[in-house]
């Protein structure tokens, strides 16, 4: 681990008119660290994620990112071209609904290869070999490489989306409810896969979820949001085992025991 963070977020706020999307969010994220953002729907966690991933411009506040060359850049002052380049090289975004993150009408192989082609790889054989490798890493059979994701199950689609994002070796991945809408057994497999990939690749990730079990399994740190504000943050197991804010206590006490 380096001594410098990867992402520095300071007093980030997003208002929709007079309504608060998220307010005054401040944190640092280090390389290889997984931060879970939890809260119920409407708590502002998705707004925060969209601001951080520059899909949405905040009303105020700053976020700086340490580029691969070590330079710090303010995300909201970057040109759109730079931001988009960042989005498809050094960042990933895993949507809750795989259809939002995949091209449903092109093959699995092309879905994985798109980012490589976008950064200028023009060798078909090499692109395909990389796609095969990544499909196996997300446990998709090689013989599905030419199938369209439309023919895939929900879990497979989600794994394909992950492969598509990770193929360029990003350093930061945003995930919006990555296991939402999946069967429990499919969810478990996906979580295990994500956990392994994150560890093996040393990825930093910001995972938005309403599922505290997902947060515990994937993240080391956690922020609890309510009404757009961070009400509690800290080590994931500390927040879950010794919740201090009233809202966190409510959340934790609401978990169903199996």
């Amino acid at each position: 681990m380096t001594d410098e963070p990867l992402l520095r977020v300071s007093a980030l706020s997003k208002f929709y008119g007079s309504r608060v999307g998220c307010e005054n969010v401040t944190f640092d994220l280090w390389p290889g660290e997984v931060l879970a953002v939890v809260g119920e729907s409407g708590s502002g966690k998705t707004t925060l994620l969209n601001c951080l991933s520059t899909r949405l411009l905040p009303s105020s506040g700053t976020a700086s990112y340490r580029m691969r060359d070590g330079q710090w850049r303010e995300l909201y002052r970057m040109s759109e071209a730079e931001r988009r380049f960042l989005m498809r090289t050094d960042w990933g975004f895993v949507h809750q609904n795989p259809a939002d993150g995949l091209r449903m009408t092109v093959s699995a192989g092309a879905n994985v290869g798109e980012r490589l082609m976008a950064v200028g790889d023009r060798h078909y054989g090499r692109i395909r070999a990389t796609a095969v490798d990544w499909l196996s890493r997300v446990e998709i059979d090689e013989d599905r490489i030419d199938d369209e994701p439309r023919a895939f199950s929900g879990g497979m689609r989600q794994r394909l989306q992950i492969a598509r994002n990770l193929v360029t070796g990003p350093r930061l991945v945003f995930m919006d409810e990555p296991t939402g809408g999946l069967d429990v057994s499919v969810q478990a497999r996906l979580l295990d896969l994500l956990r392994r990939l994150v560890t093996d690749l040393g990825l930093a990730a910001i995972v938005v979820t309403h599922d505290l079990a997902v947060a515990r399994l994937l993240s080391q740190r956690m922020m609890v949001m309510k009404d757009g504000r961070v009400v509690e943050s800290g080590l994931t197991d500390r927040v879950l085992d010794d919740p201090r804010a009233p809202y966190t206590q409510l959340l934790v006490s609401s978990i169903l025991q199996v």
Binding site: D192, R216, Q220, R221, D242
Partner: protein
């Protein structure tokens, strides 16, 4: 003799916001230190706050007051006020923890559950697995279970996986939360041996043992937690 862990004037209470903000004090004025090569045991009746103290020392519970000074690398760090990132580094390098219950991860084999802390510390995966095998063998976990995820194991089997996971690394400080609770006599003896080996290696150990035989076998001294009682008994 070095003192890698010094606890001074630590206090802990729980505020139950769902119960009209009632505050449940747990412990206060907790002060002790652990030296290398010794095994100290937290003593006192159930509910006296032994487990809470252990959890604070691991950063799992927040600390209201006081300091927990840990020798981390070449420096001293106050765990009570450390950032999450520092706590994680301390857990990775300095303080190991064997919890009462194993928190299992779906689809990960017992062998990999045990090997994981070593891999996290940068050890080669195969080397870590080899070490995990020998530990699981020592703890008499049937070999046919090694490749299975421990979620469906019995309490005793899970506990052994948990112990192996805690003992596999060479953390200079090791916290043990009732590691022998659901073990039979034979495996309790194995744990006693493992603890003795850690002591010989200069590890500072702090544990909770309800089993008096084990406690007598491993404890160099007992820290009486009732001395830190706040008058009320924690939930």
């Amino acid at each position: 003799m070095a003192t890698p862990l010094v606890v001074s004037d630590v206090a802990k209470s729980f505020t139950m916001h769902l119960r009209d903000g009632v505050t449940l004090p747990v412990v206060a004025g907790v002060s002790f230190s652990i030296r290398t090569g010794e095994c100290a045991v937290l003593g006192g009746p159930s509910g006296a706050g032994k487990s809470s103290i252990l959890k604070m020392l691991y950063g799992n519970y927040a600390v209201d007051e006081g300091q927990i000074i840990v020798q981390h690398g070449n420096g001293l760090i106050d765990l009570a006020s450390a950032t999450p990132r520092t706590v994680l580094a301390i857990r990775r390098q300095t303080i190991g923890y064997v919890s009462q219950f194993l928190r299992t991860v779906p689809r990960v084999s017992a062998l990999d559950v045990v090997a994981e802390p070593l891999v996290e510390r940068g050890e080669d995966r195969e080397a870590a697995r080899a070490k995990a095998r020998s530990l699981l063998a020592q703890l008499n976990l049937p070999e046919k279970l090694w490749a299975l995820p421990p979620a469906t194991f019995s309490g005793g089997e899970q506990q052994r996986v948990n112990i192996a996971r805690g003992f596999i690394t060479e953390h200079p400080i090791l916290l043990l939360d009732e590691p022998t609770a659901s073990l039979d006599a034979k495996n309790r003896d194995v744990v006693v041996e493992l603890i003795a080996a850690k002591k010989a290696a200069g590890v500072a150990l702090l544990g909770i043992f309800h089993d008096l035989d084990v406690r007598d076998a491993v404890a160099d001294r007992v820290i009486d937690v009732t001395a830190f009682a706040t008058g009320k008994v924690a939930a």
